[in-house]
Symmetry: C2
Subunit: 735 residues, 2 copies
């Protein structure tokens, strides 16, 4: 996020050693890659097999309970004019000590608080820096699952989840280097602003904190996207500096589907005695006002006494415009966050934009993403719902945990708050649910609310998801006899933020993870189960392959290829129904996010739209269609239709844009095998900005076909880009 001008010495040659007791020193060191993970270094050195294959991840289990020592040797650099040498790490996972020349100079618990240590006074001609990493923190008396992480800020997902093996990273996970700083230096620049009600003025406040040992000057510039300087402020540097300055007619930041995600640059320069720049700090600034406002109609609920309040607000209003949020849940894209690169984020975020998503919920079970993630979201116009690293656990009220959480949360908020893509803070995932048993009274959540209020009050905060009015689930095509179509059509929620639909992974993925002799038919107790096709979710041994649901609709597959087609059809049509139904419930409903977008390792079956690392499932294209800002849509009442049955659907035209359209007409037809039956044509009334149009109900008695599937096709005469198509099942009566 912030580029400092100082010289970095990044080419430290790190080594890693380990031993079984804290007081021991490793007798052997192996090459280490930083950032990375201790597990990856050991596996590389010892030629471990790919942990993605079969149950190889189990080989890593012993590494949880070991003490690790990173070390690097470096020569005394040339330090001139009172320069000093600093050790900087943006993240070390999780509890660690730092030594310089074998002297302990820092101890820390927490992977999000950056480390900045002045090494100068300890330096010799040849120096050793060492980072000692403690074993995985665990509540040892708890079951071997996420609850072992219920007292720490480490992502609980790595302790095992229904789509994540138990494989718990440790080690240096973010940029780490030596830095030569001048004696005086700027520690922090934070650019805040308030937009006037009509968005015509941004009242900017620049807050800088610095160590000032000698008199020096500063200059702060705001540049537009073309590099033109639009504001300048200069003066004498102070330890604490506050600048108030107004920008007239700021260009606003918008999500990509509503405008341009316009970014300015804030450039803060500190000058030395000689007048030269000794430090520059640059970061992007986007001007937007974000609020959560009550969903339309929600104030009217409940109508009757006894009066209680309505559901809390979840409608995003950005720059005064109500935005229908279409997006997805983002999970850690790698098991080991240390190896996530900007390019890795970018390939996934490019796919999100291409899928017409304007928001991602970065789920609280996983790691808080690195700076480049937020930079990309800023640039690409993707809104971010950011959760703190709490999920599905009962995090305690005790003083020790609260102190740790505050330490880490302050660092997270200060790092993320300046990104215009940030639209929502959330305390964590499913903390108010019966399996976590936290409540509004839980001190951890009151603390997070208070910290967000203190440091970033203009960004909304919710304690957890779901809160009342918002749905998580369901996660399958059919549950207790109810199909996703019926479930969604009958639901009444302000937001659907975790609706899942499992699909098998593509063949190329399956072949990478499942031994050939286990590939077909899939069975529990094999690599299929290690990769979450069976017994992944409690109380249902068919998740996530869901053979039971597939065979309710289709003949048992005879090949793996056939099974893939069957599973992916249900996933595609199911997800389409989720997105389109939620959209049709606008404006009471204001958001739809599926569970989930990506996955950190190759699963055999999962609710993800993309198989690891970036292989789209067919459902991704289906969702892309369902999320087009402008398109026609049909209500699907059920999946299976019969000969002579009255087929029925209701037509809609969906508009999430500020455009106004008129003169559209929609041809409705059914297609089975080669046959096409035109059953209706709808003259669409005027489509108003940001409003959908509900159209007629269409009914048609189905003929006798000799096919298992048919399609409902909606063609918009004037613009084929608005067309829609649905695949449904057909059965001729046996008697």
């Amino acid at each position: 996020m912030q580029m400092k001008f100082f010289a970095h010495i990044e080419r430290l040659n790190w080594e890693l050693g380990y031993c079984s007791a804290k007081e021991q020193y490793p007798d052997k060191f192996i090459p280490a890659i930083v950032p990375g993970a201790v597990q990856l270094d050991i596996a590389r050195e010892a030629n471990y097999p790919d942990f993605n294959y079969a149950d190889n991840y189990r080989l890593f289990r012993w590494m949880e309970d070991i003490y690790y020592t990173y070390r690097a040797r470096f020569n005394l650099p040339v330090l001139k004019n009172n320069e000093r040498l600093w050790f900087i790490s943006k993240g070390i996972d999780y509890q660690f000590e730092i030594f310089i020349n074998h002297e302990l100079i820092h101890e820390q618990e927490g992977m999000y608080v950056p480390v900045e240590l002045d090494l100068t006074s300890y330096l010799q001609e040849v120096n050793w820096i060492e980072v000692k990493v403690m074993p995985v923190p665990k509540r040892h008396s708890f079951p071997e699952d996420k609850t072992q992480a219920s007292h720490v800020t480490k992502p609980p997902v790595s302790y095992g989840w229904d789509w994540h093996p138990r494989l718990i990273p440790l080690g240096v996970w973010d940029d780490t280097y030596l830095e030569i700083r001048s004696e005086s230096y700027v520690n922090e620049v934070n650019v805040g602003y308030n937009l006037s009600d009509d968005f015509s003025v941004a009242n900017i406040h620049v807050h800088a904190e610095a160590i000032v040992k000698n008199e020096s000057d500063y200059c702060w510039e705001l540049k537009d996207a073309d590099g033109n300087i639009v504001l300048v402020e200069k003066g004498r540097m102070q330890p604490i500096l506050d600048i108030e300055i107004a920008l007239n007619t700021p260009k606003l930041w918008w999500p990509h589907d509503h405008g341009v995600p316009y970014l300015y640059s804030s450039c803060f320069y500190m000058f030395g005695n000689g007048g030269g720049v000794v430090q520059s700090i640059e970061n992007k600034i986007g001007f937007r006002k974000v609020q959560l406002v009550m969903n339309e109609g929600a104030w009217d609920e409940p109508e009757a006494f006894p009066k209680t309040r309505s559901v809390p607000p979840i409608q995003i209003e950005l720059n005064g415009r109500k935005i229908f949020a279409k997006g997805t849940n983002w999970v850690n894209p790698e098991i080991f966050p240390g190896i996530i690169t900007r390019d890795r984020y970018k390939e996934l975020l490019d796919m999100a934009v291409a899928t017409n998503f304007n928001i991602v919920r970065t789920w609280g079970g996983a790691v808080v993403n690195k700076a480049s993630f937020f930079e990309l979201c800023d640039e690409m116009g993707i809104m971010v719902w950011q959760e703190f690293p709490l999920s599905c656990n009962q995090y305690p009220d005790d003083t020790e945990y609260l102190a740790l959480l505050e330490f880490e949360a302050r660092a997270i908020i200060k790092r993320v708050r300046q990104h215009p893509s940030l639209v929502l803070w959330c305390g964590g995932n499913e903390l108010f649910n019966s399996w976590s048993k936290m409540t509004d009274q839980s001190l951890a959540l009151r603390l997070l609310n208070a910290l967000c209020f203190e440091l970033d009050r203009n960004t909304p905060f919710i304690p957890t998801s779901p809160i009342f009015g918002i749905a998580h689930g369901n996660y399958v095509f059919r549950w207790k006899g109810q199909e996703v179509f019926d479930m969604m059509n009958k639901s009444h929620h302000t937001a659907y933020v975790e609706t899942g639909m499992p699909g098998i992974s593509p063949l190329e993925t399956l072949e990478r993870i499942i031994p050939l002799n286990q590939l077909f038919p899939p069975e529990p107790g094999t690599a299929w189960e290690d990769h979450h096709a069976f017994r992944a979710w409690d109380a249902n041994d068919e998740t996530w392959l869901c053979r039971d649901i597939i065979t309710e609709y289709m003949e048992p597959a005879e090949t793996i290829e056939e099974l893939i087609v069957q599973s992916q059809l249900l996933q595609s049509e199911g997800y389409k129904a989720v997105y389109e139904t939620a959209r049709r419930q606008k404006p009471y409903c204001s958001m739809v996010l599926n569970w989930c977008f990506n996955e950190p390792w190759p699963t055999a079956a999962n609710n993800s739209l993309i198989a690891y690392p970036s292989v789209p499932k067919p459902a991704l294209a289906a969702v892309r269609e369902a999320c087009r800002p402008l398109c026609v849509s049909a209500v699907i009442h059920k999946f299976v239709w019969f000969e002579r049955e009255q087929f029925t659907t209701d037509l809609w035209f969906l508009n999430d844009t500020v455009e106004q359209l008129s003169g559209l007409s929609v041809i409705v037809s059914l297609h089975a095998a080669d046959e096409e039956i035109r059953i209706s044509e709808w003259q669409v009334p005027e489509v108003k900005p940001n409003q959908h149009v509900a159209g007629p109900t269409i009914t048609f008695k189905l003929p006798l076909w000799h096919v298992p599937l048919f399609k409902l096709i909606l063609e918009v005469r004037e613009n084929a880009a608005f067309n829609a198509a649905y695949t449904l099942m057909y059965r001729a009566h046996k008697n």
Copy 2:
């Protein structure tokens, strides 16, 4: 709350003057009583008629927009050994400036932040202290109602409510005096503690802040209720002093119906150079742990997907025991808070204890009570739900209001937090309702949550009342055809915290406020309307006399006495049903509070149980019966029963105590005129601690009686204190 040892000079002779512009100085002064209100001084001097009578309160309206000057003359007191003279006021309502010898030394907006000013350097032989009070703060563009107070911390109730005339106090409202302080003095002593999980140890932290100009020693003592010193800590005084000390086997504070409200005394002494005590600060400490835990059964709701959280917790757990909270809403006992005395609080709180109430909700529309209120609740074992002074308005997110609210809220929290009676902080009244339109995102409520977390995190906080799961309303005996019996029997709430039942005031009250020629029959447009008998509540011109409801059941009254009997019967039986039904819904339901206990002036009809000042309505006795910790109870299904109809009821035995009872039997009988029909006898199974027993359903075909009323009587053979009786209406069929 805190007694300081310093000499007070309380006998200042205050005078009051007023004028119409800020820059003017009054040309005339009248005697003033401090604390009090400017209106009372003017009315006393000018012989205004009683504002309680008819519509005399209207005569006070002009006083809203005037500038007031309090002044007092005093001679230079003898100041020895670096002593200094301070001006202290615990509360000035609302915006004011303070002058000493005509020099402006202080400006303030806010009635809760105490004023402490060192006058010493301004003193002459003869001195004038002046307090200039600004006009009533109003949003002048808003309607002339509570919304005019939606940007201030002044109680909105005084701008007009459905039981409160528009009459807006101004002036010095709490203790105000000159104080001679030593140069060194203690500003604040706060005694916090954490109880161990088994309540066997109180880990106490004493935090003191002082101005220390010379070396001096302190001594802190904790004394038990008998005055025995149980802990002592001594040392050298510091500007900031923190003492950590443990008390073993602390006696716990309990509400009066669960144990002894045991109080210790914290005594902090500062010694002068000569070793003598120069200041002592004493306050009471009670040890209790209070939490809001989930109501029993609430985690199971909702059972189905889509999963959302259950209702938030409102079950009070005190010292590990779930307490069923029975109580009432407390409103300002006087229109002018300046005249409220400890005795005034005590007479009302004595009535609350006698009514078997263990909690009062001090409603956010009214003033935050003075110290003596909380001291009495501590001593008497009454739990306090304390609201911040926000009610039924949309308080803004703007910086100015938030700064004011923080200023005042910090003072409120610091003053109240040390009271063991405090069990719940609440942001204010009905802020999430459609008429106020605040939400979880409102910055004022996030601020209050953050401040309570910072200053008093061990006391629960809710943003407003109601929150989801909790009921406010209904407020009448019959609403849209549904009686209170049916409404309560069918309700499913975790708490009923504002259920009302209107009743006419006793004759002595009516005769005091209504001109004789208007007394009967009551009519709109008369003093009855000024005193809220008609058109008090929007959209219903019969509130609160509710003639329409009374005449649904009874022949029109022919005298005022008859009307009083009719109205008070409905109030008594209605309230009894509210309390008993809510109690029978334990443990899912954990609280029942009626709207409301008292009233600040004599209304003609109101939901209050007590007419101003302290005249009980018959409903008070009915509620006392309904709230007995141990009693028998009958489900009332409806109010009117007919000849030959199957009368039906269900029996319960209620137990909110830790006692266990067995061998009880209940005789059930109906009484009409002189006739008594014994219809059943119930052998009550064992009554377990803190649990109710559901008994049998009783049915009985009603005979022909020639009476309009009959009684259902439940007699407990073994203990008449557990008996219950219900009055119901009877109608013989006409044909």
